[in-house]
């Protein structure tokens, strides 16, 4: 089986025991911090913070870097765009491309920021049970007037959970429908105008049926889309507040310099 990129690794480290809300807030705070820090020294300090936090989890640091891989192309693109399209002192000249020193700096800075953001997100997902994350989001959203959007925070959280659980089923269905149609003599890839409807119609029919069955099973287990509790006990403890306070202090210090 392919190993998922942002996956949870059960454990008992300090980071594991923090409230998911603390970690969500920390990732947001760090995200802001990363994009407000201009100097390479500052970025280096944040990177050091990441290494320190990662070592807290007791997990090999390498697994966090895996989170960067799927975004690598995007990051390289950003780097090159900055490198070549920033006005400034010309470094060298290749044909019509003229990389500048400012471009190099901007490119490095921006890609470092994205990488750091991904690393911190990976740190959170590796040390937090995914359903605890949704539960945390639900609790953060609960006071918001989502009613105006026609949903409540419970429905939103369940939707997030279900869609993640349901997605693999969807892909499986695509494959199955493809195989079924192929065995009836359909060729794929030849003429997409022909094959797409033949694929999509039974596919949608299948998905609707799956969704109906799922909805019945959910309702049968008492789901009403109203208030529900969670297995995860969310309690902001002293260490949560202490961690957040330390992080804010760290951010303030870094932004001063």
């Amino acid at each position: 089986m392919q190993e998922p990129v942002f996956s949870y690794v059960p454990g008992t480290s300090f980071l594991h025991t923090l409230d998911p809300r603390t970690k969500l807030a920390a990732v947001m705070l760090l995200g802001i911090l990363v994009f407000r820090t201009e100097s390479f020294f500052g970025i280096g300090v944040i990177f050091a913070l990441f290494i320190a936090l990662a070592s807290f989890t007791g997990l090999p640091t390498g697994i966090f870097f895996r989170a960067v891989r799927p975004m690598l192309l995007f990051i390289i693109f950003i780097f090159l765009a900055q490198l070549f399209f920033t006005e400034g002192k010309v470094l060298a000249s290749f044909w019509i491309l003229q990389p500048s020193i400012e471009g190099l700096q901007n490119g490095l800075r921006l890609s470092a920021r994205f990488i750091l953001l991904l690393l911190f997100a990976a740190l959170m997902t590796a040390s937090t049970d995914p359903s605890a994350i949704t539960c945390g989001i639900e609790r953060i959203l609960r006071p918001l007037p989502l009613r105006w959007l026609g949903v409540n925070s419970y429905e939103l959280a369940t939707m997030m959970n279900i869609s993640i659980a349901f997605l693999p089923l969807l892909f499986e269905r695509v494959e199955r429908t493809k195989a079924a149609q192929a065995s009836r003599g359909m060729y794929f890839g030849r003429n997409p105008f022909h094959s797409v409807p033949a694929l999509v119609i039974p596919l949608i029919r299948g998905i609707v049926r799956d969704a109906e069955e799922l909805a019945l099973a959910m309702e049968s287990r008492g789901y009403q889309g109203t208030r529900r509790t969670s297995m995860h006990e969310l309690l902001m403890q002293k260490r949560d507040w202490a961690s957040l306070f330390a992080l804010v202090f760290f951010a303030a210090l870094l932004l001063r310099f």
Binding site: D129, N161, A165, Y223, T229
Partner: protein, 274 residues
Amino acid sequence: MIRFENVSYNYPDGTPALRNINMGIRKGEYIGIIGKNGSGKSTMSLHLNGLLRPQKGKVMVRGMDTGDFSKLQGIRKIVGIVFQNPETQFVGRTVEEDLAFGPENLCLPPMEIRRRVNRALAETGLEKYRYHSPKSLSGGQGQCVALAGVLAMEPECLVFDEVTSMLDPDSGKTVLERVKRLHEKGKTIVYITHNLEELHAADRIIVMDRGRIVLEGKPENVLSDPSLRALGLTPPSLIELAEHLKNHGVAVPWEKTSCPSSFAEEICRLFLKM
């Protein structure tokens, strides 16, 4: 504990699925429901905990009317359904999370949810898969997760709708054993199937055809009823064999028809007596 009173139901497209059903299910009973495709078995099962509500007549679960919306949650606490396809019953990314879904809907406190999840895991022997994705499990294990998800709600009555039809015979047997054990522990069981062999241990069998109950009684009477074939059902081969032997004057007692080995033993015993 469950009562159907003159229940009729038509699907929105006009298909009549249940026609004037009257029946009762007692606490602790093990009921088998059989009938060919489209005879209304699933429709009936969906009425058992108010997933469908009758258009005529009413369904009462421990004195609560399934038509009364304020009672629905209470009814679903009492009657849980395990469906045919394990895959479309999973709502969690991990087994543990999936089992927590029901108790979470019942608004239980986190401690109690954990206790129930652990208990359901232990009861179905799924502890080692706690953090696995339900989708990564085999069909039989998947059906166990679905069962555990219902058990975590601690219902009195469990409904199984063709739960073995997507499993290989071995996993099917394991699931069936589990059902029997739950019955021994005092749960009320409603077991829907196409496979009549699975109903040997039932207390009572209900045969459905075109939305009606056409036959009802003890397995020894129903499974050997001559009208089964006409209703599109195949009687278990051992029972059919016993019927033929009876016509030739050889009586094999009902208890011995449950499996080939006991049947063979009985035949040998009869031979030696002759």
